[in-house]
């Protein structure tokens, strides 16, 4: 499975379009991470726990998008976009979407 955020896969030609595929996940923060982040809020800088949390979540959303593309019979996803939205206190939705295609 090849994915890219451009209109095509470099060096390949698109032979068939399958439509939009999406993947999402909603995650809440871990209380331990929240306490650490609270402490880190005093001196500032990177909140490593949150970085990892969002990275994991984004990977999962991407993975779900890829699964959907595979079930359609696609072998690539082009024009992938990410979106993050805070939907509730302490919870965020990570969303990935793109166009499933067959390339040769």
């Amino acid at each position: 499975m090849e994915i890219s955020n451009t209109d095509s896969i470099p060096g390949r030609t698109i032979v068939q379009f399958y439509g939009v595929v999406t993947g999402n996940t909603v995650r809440a923060k871990h209380i331990g991470r929240d306490i650490m982040a609270g402490l880190k809020n005093i001196v500032g800088g990177e909140l490593v726990g949150y970085t990892e949390l969002l990275q994991d979540s984004r990977n999962e959303a991407t993975e779900r998008m890829i699964q959907q593309a595979q079930s359609m019979g696609a072998n690539a996803v082009v024009n992938v976009r990410f979106a993050t939205s805070s939907i509730a206190q302490g919870a965020a939705e990570l969303f990935a979407y793109g166009t499933a295609v067959r390339v040769e």
């Binding site: 090849e2 994915i3 890219s4 955020n5 451009t6 209109d7 896969i9 470099p10 060096g11 923060k29 929240d34 982040a37 609270g38 880190k40 809020n41 005093i42 001196v43 500032g44 800088g45 990177e46 909140l47 949150y50 970085t51 969002l54 990275q55 984004r58 991407t62 992938v80 990410f82 993050t84 939205s85 805070s86 509730a88 206190q89 302490g90 919870a91 965020a92």
Partner: protein
């Protein structure tokens, strides 16, 4: 025990703690920020030869064999001192200088992580780089505490047909 002593103790608890936190935040925060900027500059000069572009199509002299999506992200938060300064600034309006270096270093860090991922997996360049900023929800009910800001950098990494295929 005389009441003067108790009043002093109370004053220390009421004003001393915030002042201590402010000073701690100022010194530690400034030190961490300097160290981070130094690390960013070092890595940026190390990766200076690695082509990263925001074009949505590949430059004509690139011939790619394989490609993948690479991402880099970082969540940062302001230190207590800077938050207080920014809060004061918000009363009179104008440029909030304390936020600028924070966002700058977060964005550069996200970009560096994206490049590191591409290099680690053996890719030669990244094109169609996009940068996104999103604010995370407050970690608790208190309005003042912001959980942080996430910077995301992503793009399409490509491998060239041969290591020195670029003819520029």
């Amino acid at each position: 025990m005389d009441s003067g002593f108790l009043q002093t103790l109370e004053a220390i608890l009421n004003f001393g703690l915030p002042i201590f936190l402010l000073l701690l935040a100022y010194f530690v925060g400034t030190m961490l920020e300097r160290r981070h900027f130094r690390s960013i500059r070092n890595r940026e000069s190390e990766f200076a030869q690695f082509p990263v572009v925001t074009f949505d199509t590949m430059p004509a002299d690139w011939t790619a064999t394989s490609s993948t999506l690479v991402t880099g992200s970082v969540v940062v938060s302001l230190d207590y001192f800077k938050r207080v300064i920014a809060g004061l600034r918000a009363i009179v309006g104008g440029r909030i200088k304390t936020y600028e270096p924070l966002l700058d270093r977060a964005r550069r860090e996200a970009m560096l992580r994206m490049i590191e991922e591409a290099r680690r997996d053996g890719y030669d360049a990244v094109f169609n780089v996009r940068l996104e900023t999103s604010r995370l929800a407050n970690s608790s009910g208190e309005g003042k505490r912001t959980a942080g800001v996430e910077m995301l950098a992503f793009g399409t990494a490509v491998k060239f047909t041969s290591r020195f295929a670029r003819t520029s």
